[in-house]
Each structure stands twice: as structure tokens, then as C-alpha cells.
């Protein structure tokens, strides 16, 4: 299946004449070398694919280039080098009109500080993208009401953004980004500006929505826990480059670089790693007994693992087919932190 977004060797440099600089830049130049020449490397040689229905979380500290990268995907930034294809189309080759059309029909984005239009009511904010593409008043009102209900803001349609709490404002931001029924959903640190309790609630809400809608998602965060909680795959960025891009299980168990390992150090791995992540191919051996659910974390299975008598435990996918075996000792090591 062709990826929805495919980035190949993407560069984004900021400075006086980035294109020319990139062409003449020596191979293997790092972030600091580039900075010494008076340029800032927002994105350095990033190649990543996002497949349909997948949630890719881009994780990094501030200044790591994660927000820049997502803005390259939607061409809010023009990239300096490499190619980005969205739905098989090179977005750098699009004319302004085509780009607008792409955004009007396929993309939605949620912003860290919400980016709501202060002079419009909740309903008018949500209907804004529909209004831009010229939908008539009646249909856009119906559709906006529908999404407002979806994010649980019923009864607040006529409020202005300043009359809402932060969590409610972000619900408006989410509703607006969903109004046009986008295929691709960009979320730039959507919950970072919220209190921890609200953040948790919004994450649950978000997972509920995603369950329902099944969008292709690029989600930005600086919070590693949030990344682990939400992601199908995580891309960890540093100084504009991707350090490692893998499933949460793999990242926690096999950090590729020292930088990534530091993030995983304090993580309770048993809560992150799933049975599926520990399972190895069956290799002809017939596993005995009832399989465990591959989507359960080791933490979920703790009691069963301790009571378990089998050394090799079969792991099944959602529909009950055995996909591999998990060694009990591996799981216990992870659980007890002895690995």
C-alpha cells in the first residue's frame, strides 16, 4: 500500500539563501557546522513514510525541528531540499491554487495555542474552513453542528473563544480541523498548553475520536509519555534529524542511540511493551494452551505471568489467530526490571 505521506531526504534550512547554501554544503555537515555558517537547520535529511490510518508521533524537545517538519508536510513551510509526496503528489510542485484545494479537501491541523479566530463564535470557527471553500450557509451550519457535537461542545455553539476554558478551546480547534473530513490530520502539540488533568482527559477523548474516525495522523509532542500512550510509531527528533523511528515497544526495548536511551531510562517498560512486541515467530513449534492477547501490555498480564506454568506462551492477534510465542522469562524480566 502506497504511503499517504512520503518524505525523502527532506531539508529545511533558515537563512539568507538556503537553496544555494544547501547545494554547496559539504557532505556530512552537522547542525553546529551549519549554524556556524549562519544558517539554522530546521529539518536535516529526514526520510519518513506515514501509511494510511497510522498514527505517527513525532517526539522531540523544543527546537528539535518537529514543528518545522510537520509544517513542511502541509507546506506551511517550503522545503529547501528533498521531496514530500502527499497522496502520491509532490507537494512542492503544486501551484498556489492546487495547494489551497489540497488543504481544503484533505488536510486538517490542530495548533498548540489553538489558533482560534477571536472574533468568531464556536460555530463560526468550526465552519470557517467550510466557508473558505464556499459551501452554502445551511450545509456548513449543519456540518459544523455535527462536529461540535462530536467533540462534546453542544450548547456552546454561540460562545466566543475567550468565554471558554483552554480544554474547551482546544475542542473547538479539533472540531475545526475535522470539519472538512480530512484524510490527514496534523496535530501540533495539541495538549501541551493544558493542565495535566485536562490533558489526560483530552488524550482519552482523542483516542476515542481516532477509534471512530481512523484518520492518518501526524502528532507532535514533547512529552514522551504522551507519545508512548498514543503512537503506532514514534519518530524521535534531535537537532532537525530523526534519531529513531519505530514502534513504542521497539523504542523502549531497543533504543537506537544514546539520546533515545536517555528518554527510555525512567520509563516503566512493562506498561509500554505489549505481548505482541515480545513475541517471536512460532517456527513450527506448536505452543500449548490458551493464547494471550497481543495487544495487552506486560503490565496487564502481570498476574497471569506470575501464575503461569508454561515457559513459552502463545500470543494471538485481535481475531484469535496465534502470531507467535513469548518467553515467560523475557516477560518477567521486563516486569521486574531485571533485564
Amino acid at each position: 500500500m502506497a504511503p499517504v505521506i512520503s518524505a525523502k531526504n527532506v531539508w529545511k534550512l533558515f537563512g539568507p539563501d538556503p537553496e544555494r547554501y544547501l547545494r554547496s554544503m559539504p557532505e556530512g555537515y552537522g547542525f553546529d557546522d551549519i549554524r556556524a555558517d549562519g544558517y539554522i537547520a530546521g529539518v536535516r535529511d529526514v526520510s519518513v513514510d506515514v501509511t494510511e490510518g497510522e498514527m505517527l508521533v513525532i517526539m522531540g524537545l523544543s527546537g528539535s525541528g518537529k514543528s518545522t517538519l510537520v509544517r513542511c508536510f502541509s507546506r506551511l513551510h517550503d522545503i529547501t531540499g528533498g521531496t514530500i509526496e502527499v497522496g502520491g503528489q509532490d507537494i512542492m510542485s503544486l501551484a498556489e491554487k492546487e495547494l489551497i484545494e489540497l488543504r481544503r479537501s484533505k488536510m486538517g491541523m490542530v495548533f498548540q495555542s489553538f489558533g482560534l479566530l477571536p472574533h468568531r463564535t464556536v460555530l463560526e470557527n468550526v465552519a470557517f474552513p467550510l466557508e473558505m471553500r464556499g459551501q452554502d450557509k445551511h450545509t456548513r451550519r449543519d456540518r459544523a453542528l455535527e462536529v461540535v457535537r462530536l467533540v462534546g461542545l453542544e450548547g456552546r455553539e454561540d460562545y466566543f473563544p475567550r468565554e471558554l476554558s483552554g480544554g474547551q478551546q482546544q475542542r473547538v480547534g479539533i472540531a475545526r480541523s475535522l470539519a472538512i473530513e480530512p484524510d490527514i490530520w496534523f496535530l501540533d502539540e495539541p495538549f501541551s498548553a493544558l493542565d495535566p488533568l485536562i490533558r489526560r482527559e483530552m488524550q482519552d477523548e482523542f483516542l476515542r475520536l481516532q477509534e471512530m474516525l481512523g484518520k492518518t495522523i501526524v502528532f507532535i509532542t514533547h512529552d514522551f509519555d504522551e507519545a508512548l500512550r498514543l503512537a503506532d510509531r514514534i519518530a524521535i527528533m534531535k537537532d532537525g534529524a530523526i534519531e529513531q523511528c519505530d514502534t513504542p515497544d521497539e523504542i523502549v526495548m531497543y533504543p537506537a542511540t544514546e539520546y533515545v536511551r536517555k528518554f527510555t531510562e525512567d520509563i516503566d517498560k512493562a506498561r509500554v511493551v505489549h505481548a505482541r512486541g515480545l513475541s517471536k515467530p512460532v517456527n513450527g513449534v506448536a505452543p500449548e494452551g490458551a493464547p494471550v492477547d497481543g495487544k495487552a501490555t506486560i503490565q496487564d498480564l502481570a498476574r497471569q505471568l506470575i501464575d503461569e506454568t508454561r515457559e513459552a506462551i502463545p500470543v494471538a492477534d485481535g481475531s484469535g489467530n496465534v502470531i507467535g510465542v513469548m518467553q515467560r522469562s523475557d516477560a518477567l524480566d521486563l516486569l521486574l526490571g531485571g533485564a
Binding site: R71, S74, L76, I100, E101, R103, R104, S105, M107, G108, M109, F111, Q112, S113, F114, G115, L116, L117, P118, H119, R120, T121, F128, P129, E131, M132, R133, D158, Y159, F160, R162, E163, G173, R176, S177, I180, F186
Partner: protein
């Protein structure tokens, strides 16, 4: 200058400045020239530039203007605008407001109807107080018998303000969108903002016909610059996420501008509206000098014939209008849209509009039958002008009062002003230029110094040196006096929250008054002479000085004053070693504004009778000497800009040094 001397209060950044070789060279040369002059050895051509060497700038300009005006046919275009659309609009509002016999022939609208509508609008914007202010202003105006004059003024204002707003908005958008427009209009704007208003008036008269049209054009041009600045400021401040949200919603460029940028910049745009209205009012009143009828003309005539009581009443009317327009437009800035509960009936959602309309219609109908509701005649008005006049004049004639004003007038004139003026005039031109350059260098560094040198050399070459020096002398004397009043007042007020807000409110209110108003008390107290001129400028310039002193002192971070308290500083120590040094950059902004205000006022004071550039400028208004008018105006502008550049450069530097920027 002594008070802003930074080392007095221990601000960093100027150590070693005194040993700066450039500064020493400038001062040294100046002193050598002065010394030679003192012992009588300076050749005459070094004292003043000889007439023969002065280029005929005014004549050249006249030729250029004549060419543009007649040969290129600019006059036809401007006359067309003046006699076509502009005059049409002005006639229409004139008909509605005071019944000039022009299309649409509906007016005059009864004063009661206008007052009722204004009161409802006031209530909508700011509750009962605002309703009282808005309704009260119109009722006062009618009862005091100045309705027609006030409406003559308003009929120009209601045309000029929207046009100035629109043009400012468009230029502001252009300057924000295209960098080259920005670079092109920046210098023009700073010159425009320092150009004396007489220089706006004459070209307006020549190109746009005498009377309301010229008045409207001068007013519009005068009010545009701040709108441009507020527009670009507002558009630049729109949060990047809101912009990105707009782009991701698939906005076209036009949609971005009209649906995202402009609404998001609402606050700044409305602040711009407020400034446009206030500047329009200030200028409309001043257009009396080119024969525009209205409140300004009335005031000019009354002051000219020394009818103080009537002048005072007109002054009150102008002030009331100023306060009303200012408060209402500011209330509009903070007025946020509110949502109605679901199911609110239509009439309830538009209750204010309906009540306003109803009030308007009811009084309009009543006025058709009851004359007093339509118009208050001369006989019926409650004007107490004569009685006031007698009261004021007898108060001033009381021996004690008279003695005080007489003594003040004598003391300031003989002991301070005249000696100071004569010594400034005595200084040889080159030495004067070098001293100014040295000052600019000391304050702002190399760039302001180069500008200062060039600007003052141009002034010297204009052939109006003595009059320029007299203008400068008036400005400096007035600013020094107002520093002696304003800074202590500010320091006192800043000590308590209550007094700060009281004095700030007074300053804010005073700043909305058209500058012309300040002449009334000056003439009342001191009659027609130099002291009255300085006095008028002093009241005008004390306002920004007080204001920024308070603001500077009040915004010193509390941790810093707490640290001073914990170090055991006394109040006085804290003030001198902590608060004043921290507040100085802000105070310098006030100082700069005071100088700009003084340059503005000194020209208006020509009305009282001065011997400076303003007097010459006022004389040009009677004729068609456009070249001379522009040269004189530019002289004022160049001197003002020199100070502006130097003081603002100093402020920037100081803010950076203190980490406040």
C-alpha cells in the same frame, strides 16, 4: 538637558563618553569659535551665513510647484476631487447637521434627535456614565447656543475621519505587505508627524479650494500617519498560529486578509480609529486659520477680541466633544462581541439599535411641532459669556492676582527668557550647529549626530536662522520649565496607586484636548506676550512628562524595589539609585514627546504673537507663497527630527543596557 544627564543618576553606558575624542573635538571647535566671537575676532561671515550664500530654496520650490500644479495639471485633478466627490460629501453632511441648502435637503436634524441617539449609543458602549457624557455633550452644546458652530465642525469631521481611516488602512496594509512601501513611507511619515500644521494648510488651500474642502483635506492628511502605523502594527501582531490556521483552512490571499488578518487585528485597528478621530478633531479646530467656519473659527474670533467668557464656553464645548469622542471610541476598542442565549427574539438581540432609532424618530417628530426641540435660538440660549467675561476679568484685576501674574511675567521675561534668547542668538551659527551635533552624538551616537549636523546645516542654509533659533529657544525654555513641574509631580504621584491613577486619568484626558484649547488659559492669565506663549506650551508639554514619569516609575519590576528595600535603602535612596535610573528610558520617551508637542504648540502660539518661524508661517497662509511655507515648515520639522532621533536612540541604547527592551 541637565536633568536627563545620565551620570547624575548613575546609569551605566556613558562612562568614558566624556573622553570620547569625537565629542571633545566637536565641543572644542565650538568653544574656539565662541571664544573668537567673544573677543571680537570672528569674521562676520562665520557668525551668520552671508545672505549671498543662501540658496534660493523657496523660489526653486515655487517654480517646481508651479510646474507640477499648472504644467503637469495636478491642480485639475485636485480641484476635480475637491469640487466633485469631496464637496458633495461635505455638502451632504452640512445639510444634515446644520441645514446647508444642498442635497439631500433633509436637514438640519433636530438637536434633540441627535442627543437621544448619541445617548443610546453611549449606553451601549459604556453604560450610564457614557450615556450621560454623550447625551450631555450635545445638550450642553445646544443650550449654550453653539449648536451650529459645533455641527459645522462635526460635518467636516464625519467626512474626514472615515476617509483618513480608509486611506490609512490601505496604506498600512500596503506597508505591511510590501517591504519597499514600508521603507518608502517611513521617512515621509516621520517628517509628516513633525511638520507644523500650517504647512499642511497652505498646500491644501492652494490645491483644494478655500473653505471646508481644504480643511477636510488638511485634516485627512494630518490624521493618516497614526492609522498607517497602527494597521501595520496590528497586522504584524496577529498570532502565527491564527495565520497558519487560516492557511490550513484553505484561505486564498484575499480571504486571509479579510477574514483572518483584519478581524484578528481588530484591537489595534480600533485604537487607530480612536487616534484618527482625535487628530481629526484637533486639526478641524485649527483649520480656523484658513477660514474654516466652526468652533475653531468662533474660538479664534473670540480670543482675538479678548472675549474670555465666550472663549471659555467654546473651550468647554470643544473639550466635551474631545472627551466624548475619545471615551466612546476607546469603549469601542474594549467592547467584545457577546453571544445571546439561544432563542433570544430578534428585537431583543438588536435592542439598542431599536431604542436608538425610536428615540431619534420620536424627537424628530416632536421637533416638527415644538421649535425648541429643533433649534435653540440665540435669545433662548443659556450662554453666560458676558457674565463670565466680567467675572474672569475682575478676578484677574484683583490686586493680589494681578501682582502675581505681573511679577511672573516680569520675572520670566526680563530675568529668564530674554537673556536666554539673546545668548542663543549671540552664538555663531557654526558653533551652534556643532553644539547640537555634540549633543546628538553624546545622546544617541554617530548616526543621530550626522543627521543633526545635516539637518541644522540645512536650517542655516534656509535663510531663516534667527527665527529658527527663536523657535528653538521657546521650545527649550518651555520644556525645561515643564520638566521642573512635570517630573516632581510624576514622582509624587507614582508613590501611591491612587494618585497615580488619578493623575494618569487627568493626563489622558488632557491629551485628548485639541492643542488650541491650551491658549485660552495662557491668554487669560498673561495676555498677549512671550510669557503666555511659553505658558501655553508648558501646560501642553507637562502632560507627557508627568505621564511617562509615572509610567516609568510604576513599571519598575517589584522584585527590584523589594531588593532595594531589603538592602535597607531609604525612600530617597531607593528613588535616586534604583527607581529613577530604571525609569529613565521611559521618562526619555516622555521628554521626547514633550519636545515634539512643544514644536507643535510654538507654531500655533504664533496666534498670540511671536517672532519665530510660526509667525512667518502664519503670514504665508494669507498668500500663495507655497515655497516659503514649505521651507519654514521643513525647518521646524528638521529641528524636531534632530531631537527625536537623538533622544530615541538614547532610549533604545539605555533600554538594552538595562535589559528592558
Amino acid at each position: 538637558m541637565a536633568v536627563t544627564h545620565p551620570s547624575d543618576v548613575g546609569v551605566p553606558g556613558h562612562e568614558g563618553a566624556r573622553r570620547d575624542p569625537v565629542l571633545l573635538a566637536l565641543l572644542g571647535t565650538a568653544f574656539v569659535i565662541i571664544l573668537f566671537h567673544a573677543i571680537g575676532l570672528l569674521p562676520l561671515w562665520l557668525h551668520r551665513i552671508p545672505e549671498a550664500l543662501i540658496p534660493p530654496t523657496a523660489e526653486v520650490l515655487d517654480v517646481v510647484f508651479a510646474f507640477v500644479q499648472n504644467d503637469l495639471g495636478l491642480i485639475h485633478i485636485t480641484r476635480f476631487i475637491a469640487e466633485g466627490p469631496l464637496e458633495f460629501l461635505l455638502d451632504a453632511t452640512a445639510n444634515l447637521l446644520y441645514g446647508k441648502r444642498r442635497w439631500p435637503m433633509l436637514g438640519p436634524i433636530p438637536w434633540t434627535a441627535i442627543a437621544a441617539a448619541a445617548a443610546v449609543l453611549g449606553y451601549y458602549l459604556g453604560g450610564w456614565k457614557m450615556a450621560l457624557l454623550a447625551g450631555g455633550t450635545f445638550i450642553w452644546t445646544a443650550l449654550i447656543g453653539q449648536w451650529d458652530d459645533a455641527m459645522e465642525t462635526m460635518s467636516v469631521l464625519v467626512v474626514a475621519a472615515p476617509i483618513a481611516f480608509l486611506m490609512g488602512l490601505l496604506l498600512g496594509i500596503a506597508a505591511w505587505k510590501y517591504a519597499w512601501v514600508d521603507t518608502a513611507i517611513k521617512p515621509i511619515l516621520s517628517v509628516l508627524q513633525t511638520l507644523p500644521f500650517f504647512t499642511y494648510l497652505l498646500p491644501a488651500v492652494i490645491f483644494f479650494k478655500v473653505g471646508p474642502t481644504a480643511g477636510a483635506v488638511a485634516t485627512i492628511i494630518y490624521a493618516i500617519p497614526p492609522m498607517i502605523l497602527m494597521t501595520t502594527l496590528g497586522l504584524k501582531k496577529v498570532s502565527p498560529e491564527v495565520v497558519e490556521a487560516g492557511k490550513m483552512s484553505g484561505c486564498t490571499r484575499w480571504q486571509m486578509l479579510t477574514r483572518v488578518y483584519l478581524p484578528a487585528a481588530r484591537t489595534e485597528l480600533l485604537v487607530g480609529v480612536n487616534q484618527v478621530i482625535m487628530l481629526c478633531l484637533a486639526m478641524v479646530v485649527l483649520t480656523a486659520f484658513i477660514g474654516m467656519p466652526g468652533l475653531g473659527a468662533k474660538l479664534l474670533a473670540m480670543m482675538g477680541s479678548f472675549k474670555l467668557g465666550r472663549s471659555f464656553e467654546i473651550g468647554v464645548t470643544i473639550v466635551l466633544f474631545a472627551i466624548m469622542l475619545d471615551r466612546m471610541s476607546k469603549a469601542w476598542v474594549v467592547k467584545q462581541p457577546e453571544h445571546h442565549e439561544k432563542g433570544t427574539p430578534w428585537w431583543q438581540q438588536h435592542i439598542f439599535l431599536l431604542v436608538g432609532l425610536a428615540g431619534f424618530v420620536v424627537f424628530y417628530v416632536i421637533a416638527q411641532f415644538v421649535d425648541v426641540f429643533a433649534e435653540i435660538g440665540r435669545r433662548q440660549s443659556f450662554s453666560k459669556g458676558k457674565e463670565f467675561d466680567v467675572a474672569i476679568k475682575s478676578f484677574l484685576a484683583i490686586d493680589a492676582v494681578n501682582a502675581v501674574t505681573e511679577w511672573l511675567r516680569w520675572f520670566l521675561n526680563v530675568k529668564v527668557l530674554i537673556p536666554f534668547r539673546n545668548s542663543l542668538l549671540w552664538i555663531p551659527t557654526p558653533a551652534f550647529i556643532l553644539l547640537v551635533t555634540a549633543l546628538a552624538y553624546w545622546l544617541g551616537g554617530r548616526k543621530p549626530a550626522i543627521y543633526g549636523f545635516a539637518f541644522f546645516t540645512l536650517v542655516a542654509l534656509s535663510g531663516w536662522w534667527d527665527r529658527s533659533v527663536i523657535t528653538l529657544y521657546t521650545v527649550i525654555s518651555a520644556v525645561i520649565i515643564s520638566m521642573l513641574i512635570g517630573i516632581p509631580l510624576g514622582v509624587f504621584a507614582a508613590r501611591s496607586e491612587r494618585w497615580s491613577s488619578r493623575i494618569l486619568l487627568a493626563c489622558d484626558t488632557a491629551q485628548t484636548f485639541p492643542s488650541f484649547i491650551y491658549l485660552i488659559p495662557a491668554i487669560m492669565l498673561f495676555g498677549v506676550n512671550d510669557v503666555a506663549v511659553v505658558f501655553a506650551i508648558v501646560i501642553f508639554t507637562t502632560v507627557p512628562l508627568t505621564r511617562y514619569t509615572i509610567e516609568g516609575l510604576r513599571t519598575v519590576p517589584p522584585e527590584i524595589t523589594e531588593a532595594a528595600d531589603m538592602s535597607g535603602a531609604t525612600r530617597r535612596q531607593k528613588l535616586w539609585t534604583v527607581q529613577l535610573p530604571m525609569a529613565l528610558p521611559t521618562m526619555a520617551v516622555g521628554f521626547n514627546q514633550a519636545i515634539m508637542f512643544a514644536f507643535f504648540m510654538v507654531i500655533i502660539a504664533a496666534f498670540i504673537g511671536t517672532q519665530d518661524l510660526g509667525q512667518e508661517l502664519q503670514r504665508t497662509l494669507a498668500g500663495t507663497e507655497l515655497g516659503k511655507n514649505i521651507v519654514l515648515g521643513l525647518n521646524v520639522s528638521l529641528m524636531a527630527l534632530t531631537f527625536d532621533l537623538a533622544v530615541m536612540a538614547w532610549t533604545e541604547k539605555q533600554k538594552k543596557a538595562l535589559g528592558l527592551a
